[in-house]
């Protein structure tokens, strides 16, 4: 029975030779991806009907407008893949940039120590990592509900962001710090280059690395992971630390883009972050999805806002239209899923 059972172990790739095979393979890839099909429909539609959408400048803008959301969403997605949630990223972004700005600026706005920007950039990221590790400790170490821990952290950090400068906005940051916001390569801002590079590398790492595998395992069945010697505490803490670090990085890039730090920055982005994560195919219950999907979700949501700006919807109808478009987009995604399920396509997370 040996040869027979071996043949059965890996399902043949539907005779991938010939034109029909390629169509089938491409079809399968599209159907299996949580977000590609909708992008494949939406983006050409936008390009065709929305003036200026498909211009180089607009695409550069779109990427820039996506950068911060992408960083926060990737972090949030990692936490969600482990079956947890990280609501604190907006707070981390806000607090770290505000605190760093206070350290860099001269008195009276700043602390007066005028710390070097070159030191402050990694310090901002480190603050994010520290906040993330605290989240991880509370969530997996002490077993506090992640929703409420990170919500409390969000409130605390947003509150704390106002304290150093007494809610004063800090303008015109040191030029080394905001260099990344003023310079570009072929019209593409360094903000885009940094954030997309980090996130794409992270996406690969998540799928290819041993830790990435453990992240999925903890999200799929935390008891099974533990029973197999994977430390949920270690894994979850790593994930929160990464999420915090990405938010710290986003804090820098956002402040550099605005060339200022404000206790309001990031306000309300939390909802968009979670919309991007879920549209991107990360399951709330953990264990499924990829950062590629999240990238798609980010592009979709940024495109919606971009298009609404370009067609200049009446401000009174703006929120209504945005909400309705999101619901429609998600409905399309579900239709895609149904189709894939009907065809029996479903890939393991790893």
């Amino acid at each position: 029975m040996s040869s027979k059972s071996e043949a059965l172990l890996v399902r043949p790739a539907a005779d991938a030779s010939g034109a029909k095979g390629i169509v089938a393979t491409v079809g399968k890839i599209i159907l299996l991806n949580p977000i590609l099909p909708i992008l494949a429909v939406a983006l050409p539609l936008f390009a065709a009907f929305v003036p200026f959408y498909a211009t180089t400048t607009n695409l550069q803008n779109l990427l820039l407008a996506s950068s911060i959301l992408l960083l926060l969403s990737c972090g949030g997605a990692l936490a969600m893949i482990t079956g947890n949630i990280d609501l604190s990223v907006e707070g981390t972004l806000c607090f770290s940039s505000m605190f760093i700005a206070w350290l860099m600026m001269p008195a009276p706005v700043g602390a007066g120590v005028e710390l070097s920007p070159l030191l402050c950039i990694p310090l901002g990221i480190a603050i994010g990592v520290g906040i993330g590790m605290l989240n991880g400790l509370l969530v997996q170490g002490l077993g506090v509900n992640p929703f409420i821990v990170t919500l409390g952290m969000l409130l605390t950090l947003k509150g704390a962001a106002a304290i150093p400068t007494q809610a004063t906005t800090v303008y015109t940051l040191p030029s080394v710090y905001s260099w990344v916001g003023y310079n570009e390569v072929f019209g593409v801002s360094w903000i885009v280059i940094v954030s997309f590079t980090v996130c794409l590398m992270l996406a690969c790492w998540l799928k290819a690395s041993v830790i990435g595998r453990h992240i999925y395992a903890v999200g799929g069945n935390v008891e099974a992971a533990r029973e197999n010697g994977i430390s949920p505490f270690r894994t979850v803490t790593i994930v929160y630390a990464l999420s915090g670090g990405l938010a710290g990085l986003a804090g820098w890039l956002n402040a550099a883009r605005l060339d200022s730090a404000s206790a309001n920055s990031g306000d309300g982005i939390t909802f968009t972050v979670f919309a991007a994560i879920i549209i991107g195919g990360i399951a709330l219950s953990g264990g499924a999805g990829s950062l590629w999907g999240v990238l798609g979700g980010v592009i979709l949501l940024s495109s919606i806002d971009n298009v609404l700006n370009l067609v200049a919807v009446n401000p009174l109808y703006l929120n209504f239209v945005r909400g309705a478009v999101i619901i429609v987009a998600v409905l399309l995604i579900v239709i895609r899923q149904r189709l894939a399920a009907r065809l029996g396509l479903q890939e393991a997370a790893a």
Binding site: M1, S2, S5, E6, L8, L9, V10, R11, W205, A208, S209, V210, I211, G212, R213, H214, Y216, A217, G219, G220, N221, E223, A224, A225, R226, E227, N228, G229, I230, S231, G287, A288, Q346, E347, A348, A349, A350
Partner: protein, 254 residues
Amino acid sequence: MTPFLEVRNVSKSFGGIAALKGISFELAAGEAVALMGGNGAGKSTLVSLLSGLLRPDIGSICIEGADRVLSDPQQSREAGIETVFQNLALCPNLNAPGNLFLGRELYRGFGPFKILDRKAMEKVTVATLQDLGVNVPDMRAPTNRFSGGQRQALAFARAVRGKSKLLILDEPTAALGVEESANVVKTVQRLRKERNIAVLLITHNLEEMRSIADKAVVLRRGHHVGSVLLKETSDDEIVARITGSFGAKAGVAA
């Protein structure tokens, strides 16, 4: 010679429920012991203690003569114990190689940059499942698509791949077919012969008990109600001990 495993006067309660009450027994290196008992007798609870999932309320566990605090499964594994849990401990979102190598991935690189060696893991998976004669239609499908027996076979395959000195099997063939069960029994027998591995087997199947174990430890409602050499004991006696009718009306069972 000190025994490989010594369980000394171990008790474990869940709130008001005493699952184990002062259990003691020994298991020599290379020995195969069957842990028998009715449902809820405390067998799986004992497994949890030995594999580091739970800590005893009182009592201690010695491995190779040394007192060990097994406070997580990793420590138990490092002490040379490999377990097939009754709940199987599979991640439903991972595929067969993912589960077979769960927590034991093959990789290249170091630190946070250990990169999975997928090819190698898939190759081993094919070979391992084939050895057990288990027929999995698509190795790359997530295991929540597997049938009950396919899942159990996977969990068993994972445990026997290790280099452990004691293999704990909690009802390893409950969901397996006739042929697959036979393969499991054969595999365990082979491991004992080849690697002189010790086995702690939990089963409700007396035939399986006899083909693997030399000795039986019987639990009943958390109490240790007897250790017997299987050669010297009839099935009826064991059943009578399990059901509590031994002594009362000896020899009458099932």
